[in-house]
């Protein structure tokens, strides 16, 4: 069992999507994440074990290497592509409720701001960390955040902003969430955001990169 899960993790970490994929060159012709996830299920390995003992570990390794600047965004995205190829086989189990995710993570770029790349990377890595992600997109109003929180009790919320002007809107949204939902966990990020600002506006955690958010989330959820 460990062997196939290790091989699957390696495929995800290095972005080997399926057998036909020529990337990475040293894994050419070998089974990829697609085939190995399918084989793991056929071998009777439980979907949550595949997720926890292989995919989540692989994505955490990817996130850590990105934080250490050993790899860059494209390599991270190739890993995500391989992760998705494996997840395709696990999705039916999540949908039927047989396998549970760690929790729900609502994420969006705040009102007035259209930057989405950073937010998308965070969403992708949190999903890779075993969470269900509800991506509200960009230019998300406070009302839209509040509605999503109402619809998903117990979720954690993440806000992204890339301009100092839209950080003001982040502040307003955080205040409105606090007023309505008290102690719920709020994460913030984006190029001009800092830990000081996070504290000042009453959010719980700031991370300069996606993996920091994933690591912080480990203490919450199932």
């Amino acid at each position: 069992m460990d062997d196939i899960l290790n091989r699957l993790a390696r495929c995800v970490e290095y972005g080997k999507t399926d057998k036909a994929a020529s990337y990475p060159p040293d894994m050419k012709g070998q089974d990829g994440a697609d085939e190995l996830a399918k084989q793991a299920l056929e071998q009777g390995i439980k979907p949550d074990e595949i997720l926890e003992k292989s995919l989540v570990l692989a994505m955490a390794a990817v996130g850590d290497r990105f934080t250490r600047k050993e790899i860059y965004v494209p390599q991270m995205l190739m890993a995500a592509r391989a992760m998705n190829a494996a997840m395709k086989h696990l999705k039916p189990y999540f949908q039927s409720g047989e396998t549970k995710r760690k929790g729900k993570f609502i994420v969006g770029t705040v009102a007035g701001d259209l930057h989405d790349i950073g937010k998308n990377l965070v969403a992708m890595m949190v999903e890779g960390g075993g969470w269900e992600v509800i991506d509200l997109g960009t230019d998300v109003s406070t009302e839209k955040f509040l509605k999503a929180i109402d619809e998903n009790p117990g979720a954690v919320v993440g806000l992204s902003a890339l301009l100092t002007t839209t950080m003001e809107n982040m502040k307003k949204t955080v205040a409105a969430i606090r007023e309505k939902h008290g102690a719920m966990q709020i994460l913030v990020g984006g190029a001009p955001v800092t830990m000081d600002y996070c504290k000042k506006i009453g959010a719980d955690f700031y991370s300069p990169d996606p993996q920091g958010a994933v690591n912080y989330l480990r203490q919450f959820g199932a």
Binding site: P24, K69, Y72, P74, M78, L114, T165, N169
Partner: protein, 237 residues
């Protein structure tokens, strides 16, 4: 107000190469796998067919610097340009205000690719869009430089609201001095420009100003990708 110039820039003039885009992804040594370089080449080809790149500048001759407040007045609009920008342009006798955009298409293509689940393609379009607008601004700046040189004047680097402590909200004032807005850029309440791949700013002009090739050291954004990727800021050749 003095000269106004509008540029419609062809993609081929931008001189964007796979290597340049690769560099912006973080790969400075060109060690990317073949698949990535192929994807960049493909995305560049697609981008070349979709972009409507535009730039414009207007030269304002009546500028007054206020050393106490670190402000500059242009046509009776006062800009609070921050200490850093002030020190770089204070010797200017005129200021060119510029706008530049890669157009809406590349941002739309990036968003569409991401929505379809192809995050990598979406990301490459995003980087290409950023490089397009920077390269277009370089071309616009080079043209201004040539024009000023011919009259014995020099120019400074480009400085934009939002950088180096200059409040991004000052873009509202900047746009008010560009009523024609030939680039068709919209500014929202938060001072965000649409198309997203757009830039705005000032270039100082004068007999006693100079272009500084290394500006990253002035900026307080220590984690900026331009700094970590050792990209030289646009040089006025």
């Amino acid at each position: 107000m003095g000269t106004e110039r509008v540029f419609s820039i062809d993609f081929s003039q931008l001189d964007l190469t796979v290597r340049k885009i690769e560099n912006m992804t973080g790969d400075q040594d060109g060690a990317s796998s073949g698949i990535l370089t192929d994807l960049i080449a493909e995305a560049l080809d697609e981008a070349s067919l979709m972009c409507s790149v535009k730039a414009e500048y207007r030269i304002f001759n009546g500028v007054t610097f206020n050393p106490a407040g670190k402000t500059v007045s242009i046509d009776s609009t006062s800009f609070d340009i921050s200490k850093i920008v002030y020190s770089q342009i204070r010797k200017s006798t005129a200021i060119a205000i510029f706008l530049c955009t890669a157009g809406q298409e590349i941002g739309t293509a990036s968003g569409a690719a991401m929505k379809e689940g192809d995050l990598l393609k979406g990301y490459l379009f995003d980087i290409i869009g950023s490089e397009i607008v920077e390269a277009a601004a370089d071309l616009m700046q080079n043209s201004l430089h040539k024009e000023m040189n011919a009259s014995g004047l020099g120019i400074t680097n480009r400085y934009s609201p939002g950088y180096c402590g200059w409040n991004v909200a000052e873009q509202h004032k900047l746009f008010s001095l560009m009523p024609g807005n030939r680039c068709g850029i919209a500014l929202n309440e938060s001072a965000l420009m649409s198309p997203i791949k757009s830039v705005s700013g000032f270039i100082g002009i004068g007999g006693n100003v100079r272009f500084n090739p290394y500006t990253c050291s002035f900026c307080d954004m220590k984690e900026c990708i331009y700094r970590s990727r050792r990209i030289k800021p646009a040089a006025a050749k």
